[in-house]
Symmetry: C2
Subunit: 312 residues, 2 copies
């Protein structure tokens, strides 16, 4: 698989969001083929992301990719994940154990990076940000799954980092991706935005929540909007998806038709929610709102869900 | 939350599939409220599904719901999940330990049921099939997650069955839902269907695959179609979602524009794949194909994805 498949696909909404650009060939059907990934590992063009627990490590000059020689000098390597091959060669992610303060001190050329900040400030090109997000999601999953949930014994990495196997009971475990719905309820010319206490000052965004067993994405949109803001919604329209590596979700974006406009927030979930006019929402997107209210930046799918409404 | 929210929502594609009807109020925000779920548990109208490992147990007369007195007589009860409240009272799921052949023998009024068969033959009304699917998905998750994946120690059920907590390291674990894309590639008047060796004789269906960290649903549709059948696809259009309790997935259905028609199957994934005309597909849906070829029954989202194409 070597994207791009089709120039038209690059225009789709799901391609506009942060962490969505992944142009490597994953070779997912060959990850267990004897010698296949090993040969790529030995390719002198092979490059490696480094992730400490859930945190990417970058060079002091902003470098995100390291060669095999550099990686070979790092202690506390726990897992390696084969991300795929691109025009410049194979890419891997290397996970370090969580308690490696000492290793970091011994490696003064590396610094912990904030993946959200990297996505916001654009200091990494999208073609690297996507694979780094994937590496962080898979390696973070390894870090939280070193024991078998079936029998409690230690499990071991398999399938080039895309599985863990339990030698004791034989169970296989695969990296987890949690589906999350994120939605904009619309009532006539107004949309519903809320803010959580942890948001940046003045920021409002779409409501969102984890999908549960036994519900469709559409039912989850209706349940979460009612629970968090007291608003019933009817028709639900799909917008786009986004891989979200915090820790490892699939954001599924929707627009939804509100059936009422009387808000009653769940104070455990939201600090505030209110209706915003199309005009006001445009000012927030463009950071020109007179009261300094803002929406999330363009790396977040919420930005695009809101903009699609605001621009009609 | 008490559905229906809106008569219009009942017409959406996601509402037409098996396991999608869930009209209980989940009270998801009150699962940890002291006394709340306990009061529902003590309600004389409370009813219980019983799940053995991954298998629902039904009465010999087909009954799926049992009262508290019956449940109280069962040994090997491991977990209880609060599913929600409906017009007839609260519903729960009870999980039995896996090795309870003896308990079953001691309880001659119960028989193991096949959840797929229940969905196909319609012997359970949709309003029960959806919650039973959810109970099976959550209780099956418990059965595979009795140990903490972070530290290997035994974990304990929490939040009325919607979480497991680790007393040793403090980690919280939530029921897993795995996103899966399922898609129909279309080339002009033809669509691409494949069959796996395990399928019923003559059955063809949509291609499908698990979504991985770092990809949008649309990219996953393109990757899986290329990997399994050698067909590149461009534009991808959302159709619907389906909760799928085998063991616990969210099926995300799409139509996709094929960019070529030369099929090259991955023989590890598929036994055969070919293009079918709209007319032939209609005959398969209606079980009138002269060679006896068929598509999956209406409880499967694949049926609806194919029918939407076939009927234009």
């Amino acid at each position: 698989m070597l994207p791009p498949f089709d120039p038209g696909a690059a225009a789709e909404a799901s391609a506009q969001v942060g962490f969505a650009t992944f142009t490597l060939d994953r070779h997912s059907e060959r990850r267990e083929e004897p010698g296949f990934v090993e040969a790529h590992r030995a390719d002198p063009r092979a490059r490696f992301f480094i992730v400490l627990g859930e945190t990417p490590l970058l060079g002091l000059d902003g470098t995100a990719l390291f060669d095999a020689e550099t990686i070979g000098g790092l202690d506390h390597r726990e897992e390696t994940v084969f991300l795929g091959t691109g025009p410049d060669g194979p890419l891997f992610g290397i996970g370090l154990g969580k308690d490696v303060t000492a290793a970091i001190e011994a490696w003064p050329d590396l610094a912990q990076a904030n993946l959200r900040s990297l996505a916001i400030d654009g200091s990494l090109p999208p073609a690297l940000l996507g694979p780094l997000g994937a590496a962080k999601a898979v390696l973070g999953w390894h870090a939280r799954h070193r024991f078998c949930s079936v029998c409690g014994q230690p499990s071991v990495p398999a399938a080039s980092g895309w599985r863990r196997d339990c030698p004791a009971c034989g169970a296989q475990h695969f990296p987890r991706v949690d589906p999350v719905v994120i939605m904009l309820a619309i009532s006539g010319d107004k949309c519903l935005l809320g803010r959580q206490g942890r948001f940046a000052t003045g920021q409002y965004s779409c409501l969102a929540g984890f999908l549960e067993p036994g519900e469709t994405a559409e039912d989850c949109v209706r349940r979460e909007t009612l629970e968090e803001a007291g608003i019933r919604v009817g028709q639900v329209r799909y917008f786009a998806t986004q891989p979200w590596p915090f820790p490892s979700s699939l954001m599924m974006g929707f627009h939804a038709e509100a059936l009422g406009d009387e808000i009653k927030i769940d104070e455990k979930e939201l600090e505030h929610a209110r209706w915003f006019s199309r005009e006001e929402t445009l000012l927030m997107l463009d950071r020109k709102h007179p009261e300094g209210l803002i929406t999330p930046p363009p790396f977040a799918i919420a930005h695009h869900i809101i903009r699609a409404f605001a621009e009609g």
